[in-house]
Amino acid sequence: MTVLDLGVVRAVREENKKVFVELTPTYSGCPAMDTMAADIDIAMQKAGYATEIKLVLSPAWSTDWISQEGRRKLEEYGVAAPLSDSLDKRALIDGERLIACTNCKSTNTKMISQFGSTACKALFQCEDCLEPFDYFKCLK
């Protein structure tokens, strides 16, 4: 999974061996933001570039910006990828069983907690294989 897969890198341009990067947070308080910026800085230095990283808020990040590849990698890692806006509401608010377990693919799953291990996720459990897993909430 890369920052590009996640869609948090908004723009990149290079001028005389200096790279200007625009980063955007998934959620306002995402504690990984500073780490991502530091990692990008280190990676660029290693490649021989200076960097200037700017945090931008507008337009606000949405889960639509996660690439297809990113969604696949999320699922592979054990985090269910976000459903569409309307299906997400039906799953999170109406409690419909729509989110597929990342372990056995069954949709016989239920929400355990509206908030998961990080702000961007909710906690689910599969009622067939009993696997607990995170669901990446749809954000639009």
Binding site: P25, Y27, S28, C30, L57, A60, S113, Q114, F115, A119
Partner: protein, 250 residues
């Protein structure tokens, strides 16, 4: 103009910071694992919003001002949050009611700020609105669960409503700063959604089988820097490290 805008940014940020601090006190102490995680997640969202506002204020403030000096090195009278958010955690009922009232207010305030003539404030608000709606969903669902729950939970949450709702009136008092921001097109006229706020609150209370307290609104002036006795204790904890080890970083 910049000075008033800076104060307005502090007002917006201070509400989120003091409430975020109150919620952070519950980290590891929530009534269940899920609620513990939820409340600290909400705290984190609020702190993210605080950073956005304070980073902006720091840019307006010149070289010696940073988001940290704004957050940690002010005196009590220059914090401009409403008195509601200072109120102690007491029990889970108080935590939920305080959160519910704040979230409900923000569900009107944030969309209004999205139309701000100040582009930066509009962007911060647009970023926050999704978080606010999610928080409101959490606090509203707990209002209903506790209200329609056991005798004990109902009595406790009703007590919290009786205690905290009168503080909500302060949200809608237009201070000099807010009036000026309204005239500049930066902030909303708070009176325009006061009625809607109370009718939405009432709607939830009815569904939660709770009653609307009849007590008169409390006259408090947190937004002008006059705080309750709780504020000193909060700032003591919040500022201790920065005052003991100036400019320390984690």
């Amino acid at each position: 103009m910049n000075e008033q805008l800076t104060k307005y940014l502090m007002m917006l940020g201070d509400n989120a910071m003091i409430l975020g601090h109150r919620l952070s006190e519950l980290c590891g102490h929530g009534p269940s694992l899920e609620t513990d995680i939820a409340l600290t997640n909400i705290s984190l969202d609020l702190y993210g919003q605080v950073r956005s506002y304070f980073q902006y204020a720091a840019e307006l403030g010149g070289e010696e001002v940073s988001e940290d000096t704004i957050a940690f090195l002010r005196k009590e009278r220059t914090y401009l949050n409403v008195v509601l958010v200072e109120q102690p955690n007491e029990d889970f009922g108080h935590v939920i009611v305080r959160q519910f009232l704040y979230d409900m207010f923000q569900s009107f305030m944030t969309p209004a700020l999205m139309n701000s003539a100040d582009e930066r404030i509009a962007a911060i608000a647009a970023k926050s609105i999704k978080e606010t709606r999610y928080h409101l969903r959490f606090s509203t669902s707990w209002m209903k669960r506790l209200g329609a729950g056991t005798e004990e939970s109902k009595a406790r949450i009703q007590a919290a409503v009786n205690h905290l709702l009168p503080f909500a009136d302060e949200f809608f008092v237009m201070t000099a700063i807010e009036k000026e921001m309204y005239e500049e097109g930066i902030g909303p006229d708070l009176q325009t959604f006061k009625e809607d706020f109370y009718s939405k609150v009432k709607e939830v209370l009815i569904e939660a089988e709770l009653s609307m307290p009849e007590s008169a609104p409390r006259v408090v002036k947190g937004k002008t820097g006059i705080h309750s006795e709780h504020m000193g204790y909060i700032l003591n904890e919040l500022q201790y490290m920065q005052r003991t080890y100036p400019q320390m970083e984690w």
